[in-house]
Amino acid sequence: MDKHKDQKKLVKVITQSMGLPQTTVELFIELFFSEIEESLVNEESINLEGLGIFRTIKSGNAKKVLFLASKKGNKQEAVKSKDSFIGKDTIKTEDKTIPRPASISTVKTNDVSERKSIPLSDININKTVEKSKPISKEEERKTVNLIENQAEQKNTVETDTKAILNNKIVVDSKIIDKSINDKIDDSNSTKITQPSDLLIQEKKDNNLSESNIEVKKPERVPEKKQQKTHPVVKKEQKKTSGFLPIIIAIFLILAIAGVGYLFFYQTSQNNSGLGASNNINDVKFEQLVVEDSLNYSYMIIPNKDVSILEVSKKYYGNEVFWPYIYISNENSMNNSIIATGNSIIKIPRLSFDLASYNNGSFINAAKTFGEEIAKSKDIKF
């Protein structure tokens, strides 16, 4: 923003509101700020209610301008203060309410008595100007002292920053020298005399990373090492703990399968009738007198249902010879291999000797004979 515009803008606004000639307003504004400037040059403080306090302070060898703005409260208060500042007679120019000026006399008068000099007590400035909290002298002194101290500290900091930076760079240079000398040949090594050379060299050397320049690193390495051991142990524990449920599940499945197999096997045997007389020793046979001893060697009566396979095994030594028992008792078998209890079973005399019961050829012949009978009679085992 152009500086002159702002000042001219102020002049325009004031001339429109006051109705005074522009030259007087310009002069007033110039004198206004020049007076403030003179007071600052003369090391005087100037307190302007509504704006703030201007004062010079010493910061080292130089002097600085201090401005303490007058605190403005809430926005509501600001609105109220504006209303109070406006007063009764107001003029609206460009949405700005400005008080109507009093009578103005710009004509020169030599007669002093005609000049109306209004005493200062009658002038109510405080009502028109926005009320701001006045700053007491003690508070002013305190703030000034604080600011001077801060300024001095800043100056010392500013003077020392260069030294600090140089020191830092010197410290870093020691570390960088090591890294640089390891990488750069002695013939090509540049003598680092000034910190600026260091900085330039750092930029040129692309191999240098920030990690080489940093001096300190956090001391957290041992904690990390400790942490490394733990996860390994934890992983092993996790592995072992992870397999246990799987093993248990497999065991349970196998157990259930075994129990189920046994259950279904037993039920199937019960259905086939063998289960009832699976153990041939439980069945009692009553032997009868054989009338036709040429054809039959035994005539028995079992007390329970019994499979002729078991009977063949008992009397022939091998269950393969059940077809011969079946044929001789075909009428009472009912196309099954289970002989009902309390029924006569005829054990036929076979053509070959007992010694040859275990002969392979006779066994094979008996097997085929049994298969043929099973097919023909539709016997289910």
């Binding site: 006051m18 007033f28 007076e35 130089a62 401005f67 007058s70 400005i98 103005i104 710009t106 400035i125």
Partner: protein, 81 residues
């Protein structure tokens, strides 16, 4: 120095330049300058006074604060003496 002293000085200087103006008018002028500065600052603009400095304002939740930066010419004048 306070505002009344300032206004008296300004009035004396104006009279020296041939401009006769009453104290009330000077007070009004003084008030109007401050109010116009405040209006500009409220509009989130800065007021730049040549060879003096610039004013600007920052508004907070409950209050606002006016800042001032002196011009280099002013600082030089102050340090020259």
């Amino acid at each position: 120095m306070n505002e009344t002293d300032l206004c008296e000085r300004i009035k004396d200087k104006l009279e020296q330049q041939g401009i006769d103006i009453s104290m009330s008018d000077i007070k009004d002028l003084y008030i109007n300058t401050l109010s116009s500065i405040e209006e500009v600052l409220k509009d989130e603009q800065s007021v730049d006074v040549s060879n003096f400095g610039s004013f600007w304002r920052k508004d907070g939740e409950s209050s606002s604060l006016t800042f001032f930066k002196p011009a280099e010419a002013l600082v030089e004048k102050i340090n020259s003496r």
